[in-house]
Amino acid sequence: MRHTITAIVEDHPGVLARVAGLFARRGFNIASLSVNETHREGLSRMVISVDGDERTLEQITKQLHKLIEVRKVFDHVDNDVVERELGLIKVSADARSRPEIIQIVSIFRAQIVDVAEEMVTVECTGGSDKVDALIRMLRPFGIKETARTGRIILVRGPKEG
């Protein structure tokens, strides 16, 4: 099962390596990772998607708490969340296939952000499932490249996370 964990960490050199190293040496497979500054100075938010069962998730969370530079950990298991990801997808597209691609893009409320004779680049924002689905729909046309940000999450309502 895929779980998403948020860690609020002190923005020091090496903190990303520390967290990534922790996951690697305990055999937790990172599916995606996003790190960025937060509105609070000196603190960064790491949003990490991992594959594993409940026990694995529990161990990951506990081990993360042990890192000195980790201030908070949210496992989102019981949370109602807003979850988003951004994907850029470069698809083969010629004059004949472009209209259909444009149709699909419009259905997904995505955007075409680059166009050339042989291809278009599509930008899609939404839940990770939505980005997955768009990629599936575009696959028959020939996907040249994809770049995804990985999932980020904020808890709904006033609670922190």
Binding site: V9, E10, P13, G14, A17, R18, G21, L22, R25, E58, Q59, K62, Q63, H65, K66, L67, I68, E69, V70, R71
Partner: protein
Amino acid sequence: MRTTGAKALVAELNSQGMHVAFGIPGGVLIPLFDELLAAEKRGDLHTILVRHEQGAAHMADGFARASGRVGLCIATSGPGATNLVTGIATAYMDSVPILALTGQVRTASIGTDAFQEADIFGITMPIVKHNYLVKSAADVPQILVNALHIASTGRPGPVLVDLPMDVATGEFEYVAPTGPDLPGYRPTVKGNARTIRRAAEVIAQAKRPLLYLGGGVILSNASDQARQLAEKLNLPTFTTLLGKGAFPETHTLALGMAGMHGCAYANLAVAECDLLIALGARFDDRITGNLAKFAPTAGVVHIDVDPAEIGKNVPVTVPIVGDCKSVLQDLIPLLKARAEDEWNRRCQELKETYPLRYEHSDEVIMPQLVVEQLYRATKGDAIVVTGVGQHQMWSAQYYRCTRPRQFLSSGGLGTMGYALPAAIGAQVACPDALVLAIDGDGSFQMNSQELATAVQEHLPVKVAILNNGYLGMVRQWQDMFYDKRYSGVDLAASPDFVKLAEAYGAVGLRAERPEEVPEVIEKALKVEDRPCVMDFRVAREANVMPMIPAGKSVDEMRIE
């Protein structure tokens, strides 16, 4: 006040109570060693020159285990720092508080593959509790305070501080730190009152409870409380390798050490108990064997300062996160006294039916005999330090400990070569104590160069080598499971350890027959101003018994 990184470092070490360092200088450390010399002259900090940085790390470790204080080792950049790695990993696995200070190339050179540069910060990340690369001299005082706080609190562990040369010489305006500045670090000391009450209920209902004491009891200085608990409830009690001494092994309730090479009666008691009260222990595989078959009928009350250990290997009935001593102080008053009962009698019966045994010989020195005689001659009162292997297990089985910080052994990492340097560290921490290293001929050769350190510092450590000419534990496995296909275990061409000791200026003694053993020990105990090596030529193919092979359970325990 204007000061430099190096001056501030030494001053801060001093004000934090660090008065000994073990290390070796190098190019980038010369500014620091200049300050260490000044500190030496002021009588503030004694720096002990070792012969291999691994020795320095084990010395800091032995110092810490024997005293409860943070041990300090110092190494230069590049190879000096990398030579500390095994010692740091050893301390990490056994939760030992040490501070490793490494020199580093100038900040501007970092990442350029400079001379003697190594990314020790990156290399040690997985094996330290935390580490720091100091970027500016002004950061030194706070980082030191933080580092020592991290090393010595919560679940202790090694902390590394990497100090670039220009940071050591860099000048700044000193501002005294007011205390640790670690907003993300809040170890739990006091246990949750509700779970403690629940634990008391569960314990009261148990018919066959067993007390399981790990190294955490010693780290928490909780052995008095552990004993109170055991005696109030008449609990049969066993320890792990690292918990030896947490409870007196001469006590009627004591079941000795359990686990792979633990006493058979301890393992059998675990299989029959209905409640395991685990204190400061982590259910390591050397204790549990096959997890699916471990303590099949037992509930578990697990008390530990590290929440990540609770429920990691074994499902827990009542988890309590907190410092062992504090939790016991809250828990014991809630418990009603228990009289001795059927269960106590059963454990006593197991003890009498399955005692530790070995085949005696009049012709050949049995290794177990050496440990027994050392135990008697030292009145069970020495600080015992071991290497890793068969000799380590025999030492654990036959040297009964009665107080904490008496048995120093690399349990988690299992580091050969630990004994001599750790014994040196222990002797420095406890100058009036009798420090006895029991080592193997293989383990001893890994850090024998530290005899020079012991001689230079006039440290009367005793080293008893159980010399069988083999890497004994591996040979035993090849004997038991690979049809005696001995591969890579024959230690031929070992030096004459007596001559080696004398070459260093230490005392060397040898016994080749059983009747020679007592006199060698007696002579060794009289040496007061230098180390003494005792070369005991023991039976070559003795096996450590009992044994629960890896991944197996107590029903497959072999008694001989």
